[in-house]
Symmetry: C2
Subunit: 432 residues, 2 copies
């Protein structure tokens, strides 16, 4: 591994750039913890529990049979085989079972409440399955084939702590302790808006110089994947008025359930027509844009590749201030920036126990160079068995096909200019 | 590890039991590959691509600038610094750009089409950013800062093969090649129906002997997690008429989008009141149940723990035959059976590239005993760094709290009766 101690050369000056961690903290600070809402069990899947869930009763709530068979007093089976009268029949769900008299048995089904007086169950396979009188071949000890009250959960136990991600087993457990609804963290509402006069909707024909809009559908899917709620607005050309009108109309239309985050892509670079930068930099008086004195969105060059031009802050819309994150327009830059800054922030806001991607270390399958002064996020494929990661495609921020084949990102630190094959890098698992 | 070579003792006779793999194959055979349907990009997330997606045009579809700067003929920069007239301005999206005359430059934005005649781009940082005339400080070679047409994808390339799971990057790539909709595999429609006279809806009070219904919400979430579409019916008591009426009414009401699978829980054991077994065993003439000659559902004891009583086959409902899988009623048995039999079948039907859970091997953190003749599926927590798996809770099929803490299942083979700490077992990752 080769490192620089001073500053390397790049077309931006790395020494003036914002560190990745600093911008990540700025984005995370924009999106506060979401409120609690109550959902039915049918809507609870993949949500995050907002409060500890406490069992109001034990589980099982009564001693019951683990087998289909006969509830007995074990002392009555001192000498087997033995024939005993079947005094009652206890299907599951019977709520009024009589007590078990000495010298008798009750026929009992799995899950049915053990009658008072019984201390064990003989499975039907050890009997002649009689209904008036039963012949029992083998003795059972006290407690055998009985599930004691509270054996699974005692009353008052926190069965699911706040922060639990609700999957099938957790929803089953919540149902079992009688919870018909669950308190979960609200999913942030995210407006996604792409900009660019070159954009054409997928499905429509291209003219020379035009491209199909891909960032919007991609980022909307990424927002939903993170557990938040994406709403994709129709992309706008490089026109500040149209951008602002589109955004403010969308914000105003959502007064009942306000937007938590506006996520834009494009229009934040160093070019002459940077619509997002200009729109969020306009002063309240409507004067010309002042990019250095924006009214709440800070634009920075972040020391990373891809994804150098970033912005984060607040837009004063028709309903007041709303958090804004501006992502770069190149598709790979856009999605990598989302992974690094937005996804962890959204998940943290929902109380996710692991906001970031699962990270592992792996040995690089081939050597590569990296620009000095900027953390490089390369697309890769991991071989978990071999413990290696191979780059997929080159570093270019327009190479979407390689991104679509990648199952991980791997990092080359800002001060490293060369990593040799076999050296270890940090890997973020994109399906983890 | 201790193995038996003959048959061990259990309350069922293992020698008469159906092997796990045989029942898994029977369930898989019930649910055929689903048809293809077309969805918008907004609805494509987590779906599985049904056909290869081919790029109709290259990506990029035209040579374009990788930088904000000036499109040049590199030969014009033989002696730098040099001042050249800016003959045109090319914002992104301009479709009618004139060719570049020798000895001139065009101001160009990132992503804009390179004019005919230009072979390189000088980034604005290497210039004085002039608009009438520009002073260029450094030369660039031919091709520099240019993204060639087809550099990402050439026309006719399969960018996403059939079977691809559509995430943000794949949706972005599909959009970029102009696909407004995608062909995906239909999600199987699954009716979930629990049975048991002891059941009470979560949120309602319990009387002695009653329990809250947990299998329905749990299995519905598991079906949705597998990528299929669950519809949870209101549970029914142990009453064959009510069960059949509930099921057939639900099937009849879905004639427009028929049900692919009926998934029941409970009512399949050896007890006296086995509603599911009785309902699916009834002959066409309406005679008394004949469990051995069912009209299409085969009930088996499967050599596993938990989850011995299983059934699979077809029910002749009001719209014709519909696939049926009957799961046992104990919650842990029910979810483990779903994992072993139903989830892989549903995912295979949708063309999922990896129908089963991700599997790894890990060393057992503590020794444990296992019944002979039945494959044991224990709940565990894996420590991926240490390479170990620890059991969570005991083997009991009613222990839902332990299931909710588990992140994996691990297997003890049917012929193994004892595994010592440190010995290796197969682990199924429940979040993989």
């Amino acid at each position: 591994m080769r490192r620089v101690t001073g500053h390397g050369h790049d077309h931006g000056d790395p020494s003036a750039m914002r560190p990745v961690a600093e911008h990540a903290a700025a984005v995370a600070a924009l999106i506060g913890p979401t409120a609690t809402e109550t959902v039915t069990l049918a809507d609870a899947r993949e949500r995050i529990l907002a409060e500890d869930l406490v069992a109001p009763h034990p589980l099982p709530s009564f001693a019951n049979s683990a087998m289909d068979g006969y509830a007995v007093r074990s002392a009555d089976l001192a000498d087997t085989p033995v024939a005993l009268p079947v005094a009652a029949d206890i299907p599951a769900g019977r709520t009024d079972g009589p007590p078990l008299a000495p010298g008798t048995v009750h026929r009992i089904m799995t899950g049915a409440a053990l009658p008072d007086g019984a201390d064990a169950v003989v499975q039907v396979e050890w009997t002649d399955a009689g209904t008036e009188q039963v012949r029992i071949e083998r003795a059972v000890g006290a407690g055998q084939n009985v599930r004691g009250a509270g054996e699974d959960v005692t009353a008052g136990t926190v069965v699911l702590p706040a922060g639990t991600i609700l999957g099938p087993a957790q929803i089953g457990l919540a149902a079992a302790i009688g919870a018909g609804t669950l308190p979960v963290r609200r999913r942030p509402r995210v407006l996604v808006l792409s900009t660019g006069s070159e954009l054409v909707a997928p499905g429509e024909p291209l003219r020379h110089g035009q491209i199909h809009e891909s960032n919007g559908p991609m980022l909307a899917a990424a927002v939903d994947d993170a557990g938040a709620r994406a709403e994709l607005l129709r992309f706008v050309p490089d026109d500040v008025e149209q951008f602002t009108r589109t955004l403010d109309e969308a914000l105003a239309a959502r007064a009942d359930d306000p937007v938590d985050l506006v996520l834009t892509s494009g229009g934040v670079s160093a070019g002459a027509y940077e619509v997002v930068k200009d729109a969020f930099s306009r002063t309240r008086s409507g004067a010309e844009p002042d990019r250095r004195e924006g009214r709440g969105v800070t634009f920075s060059k972040v020391a990373m590749q891809p994804g150098m031009p970033q912005g984060a802050g607040y837009h004063t819309g028709p309903l007041g201030e709303v958090a804004v994150v501006t992502l770069p327009g190149n598709p790979v830059s856009s999605l990598v920036s989302f992974e690094v800054f937005v996804r962890p922030a959204l998940r943290r806001a929902m109380g996710h126990p692991q906001p970031g991607r699962a990270r592992v270390r792996a040995r690089l399958a081939e050597g590569l160079d990296s620009p000095a002064g900027r953390a490089q996020f390369r697309r890769g494929r991991i071989d978990a068995v071999a413990g290696t990661v191979a780059p997929v495609g080159a570093a270019g921020s327009h190479l979407l096909a390689a991104l679509a084949r990648a199952d991980c990102l791997f990092l080359v630190d800002a001060q490293v200019t060369r990593v040799e094959a076999g050296e270890s890098v940090e890997v973020w698992l994109l399906d983890g």
